[in-house]
Amino acid sequence: MNTTPSIDDLLEGLIFAISDDIIPSLGDAKAYATAAMMQSVLQEIRQLLPVFDAYLVDEHNGMTRTLRDAAAALGDASGEAADHVRERASTLGQWSDLPAPPDREATTAAHRALGEALVATMLDLDVLQRAGDTRADAALDVVRGHFGPRYLRDVATVLVGAGMLGRG
């Protein structure tokens, strides 16, 4: 998938568009308030996205630890309620810690560097193809074989509806 523009760039674009193209045309107070709330929620999503996966894992691991620690703090307390706490500590509390998600910025930078290397490879292969080296045709097929399924997956992921908006 393309890493530029990022999901954050798209969300920021929506916030700008609401300010620049929608709010100036709104005459209704409720519509104005809704537009402002939409901007606020979009900004919330921008703030959530970079940390969501990391927080999810961090909290998952924290909750299993908390279940165990809470049971330990009960000591030898008796009764049905205390047994329930110990039972949770011995089941859910024993789940393995999840690994931290990869650093998104580093992954994106590496993805871009590899993409640029494939673009440079295409240019080099063209030089060989124009010189009549048919082995470069096979090499280009390898590069296309990487991009083809990837493009199909990307398009299936991003496309919405049938047909371009605003075209007759």
């Binding site: 998938m1 393309n2 890493t3 530029t4 523009p5 760039d9 798209l10 674009g13 929506l14 700008f16 568009a17 620049d20 193209d21 871009r112 590899l114 993409g115 640029e116 494939l118 673009v119 295409m122 240019l123 063209d126 193809q129 124009r130 280009l140 097929d141 296309r144 074989g145 991009f147 083809g148 399924p149 493009y151 199909l152 990307d154 398009v155 991003v158 496309l159 919405v160 049938a162 047909g163 371009m164 908006l165 605003g166 075209r167 007759g168």
Partner: protein, 349 residues
């Protein structure tokens, strides 16, 4: 804006005693120009007329997708109107001074006919007209491609209206100089390595030139949204800003692409003639093959993709904050599987 329009029209109708502007409203859609509809009530000494118009205005420079001239578009439309029977709106003139309408603009007649061409397809209310309308559309395109370039382009400006070094002195020079333009432009549109399929298509086009053909006037944005129709006939071909001298197969290729993007099926009609290409070949005798249309689908896509992707790249780089350009990333992605198919990408059929 009303006062400026009155002033403009008084220059066009010097004998008018009074002009009133009514019903000014933006026309949604159309990605490269800002368009407004309006009526002008023109009062002469002996009569009064209500004339329907369209104001076509350039967008702000940094957000522009195609940097073309309204003056050239005006001259072209008027030449087509005077020298052919291709249905076009009359152009009443242009104002290149951005101080008047905010940006350079032109005023054209608003033609009758339905511009919601999706009504012709997919069970739309005018589906019964589709064969007749597309038959006429094909005949109109053939006439356009047969027009005498020396009459239509007396000033010689349509060979390279983007001023990017296109040479129309021969078909070979036209193709080679266009490949140079595409490849030289790639760095300006390379906002993400995922755009690599465009580079691949430019390089492939250069390696696989088809047979030569006589250069023609091409519409340059011949697509399912750029005509009006009524009663089974095309009433106007519209949006001439990308028109230029080129290979006639470009218009066929671009319509093929835009049929996919627009979820229409112009190229499948008229059915009794075996589709658009078969009818075009019958009228012209050019025997254009499906493979050639595929080639020019790539070529025509490249011609539009260069300015569109460059405009997207300027948006991504933060040079402006028009939302349209972000939407175009999504909208234009629909064409990628077709490009990949034409380039024989493994795993794409």
């Amino acid at each position: 804006m009303e006062d400026k329009l009155i002033e403009f029209l008084l220059g066009t109708f010097p004998d008018a005693e009074e002009i009133f502007i009514e019903e000014v409203a933006p026309i949604p859609g159309g990605f490269s120009r800002e368009t407004y509809r309006f009526d002008a009530r023109v009062r002469w000494a002996d009569r009064e007329e209500l004339l329907p118009f369209i104001l076509r205005k350039d967008p702000p420079k940094e957000a522009a997708i195609l940097n073309t001239s309204r003056a050239i578009e005006h001259d072209l439309i008027e030449a087509i109107r005077l020298h052919t029977t291709v249905p076009v709106s009359r152009s009443y003139g242009y104002e290149m001074d951005p101080g008047v309408f905010g940006e350079p603009a032109m005023v054209i007649a608003r033609m009758h006919g339905n511009g919601s061409t999706s009504d012709l397809f997919n069970g739309g209310p005018d589906e019964h007209q589709v064969d007749d309308v597309v038959r006429h559309l094909c005949e109109v395109l053939v006439e356009l491609h047969s027009a005498d370039i020396s009459k239509i382009d007396a000033a010689g400006v349509l060979g390279d209206p983007r001023n990017v070094g296109i040479d129309t002195s021969s078909w070979d020079r036209y193709m080679d100089s266009t490949f140079d333009y595409y490849l030289d432009s790639y760095p300006s549109m390379d906002y993400d390595p995922g755009v690599a399929i465009m580079l691949d298509s430019f390089l492939t086009l250069r390696r696989q030139k088809p047979r030569p053909m006589r250069l023609s006037l091409v519409h340059g944005d011949f697509n399912p949204a750029n005509f009006l129709y009524a009663n089974g006939r095309v009433t106007a071909l519209i949006d001439w800003e990308n028109s230029r001298i080129g290979d006639p197969r470009e218009d066929l290729g671009w319509m093929t692409t835009m049929d996919i993007l627009s979820n229409t099926s112009v190229m499948s009609h008229p059915r009794d003639e075996g589709g658009f290409l078969a009818y075009y070949n019958k009228l012209t005798g050019l025997d254009i093959t499906a493979e050639e249309v595929d080639y020019f689908t790539l070529f025509g896509t490249a011609n539009i993709a260069v300015p569109v992707q460059a405009a997207i790249a300027r948006r991504v780089a933060g040079e402006h904050r028009q939302f349209l350009h972000l939407y175009l990333i999504q909208a234009s992605s629909a064409t990628i599987p077709n490009l990949a198919r034409m380039l024989n990408y493994p795993g794409v059929s």
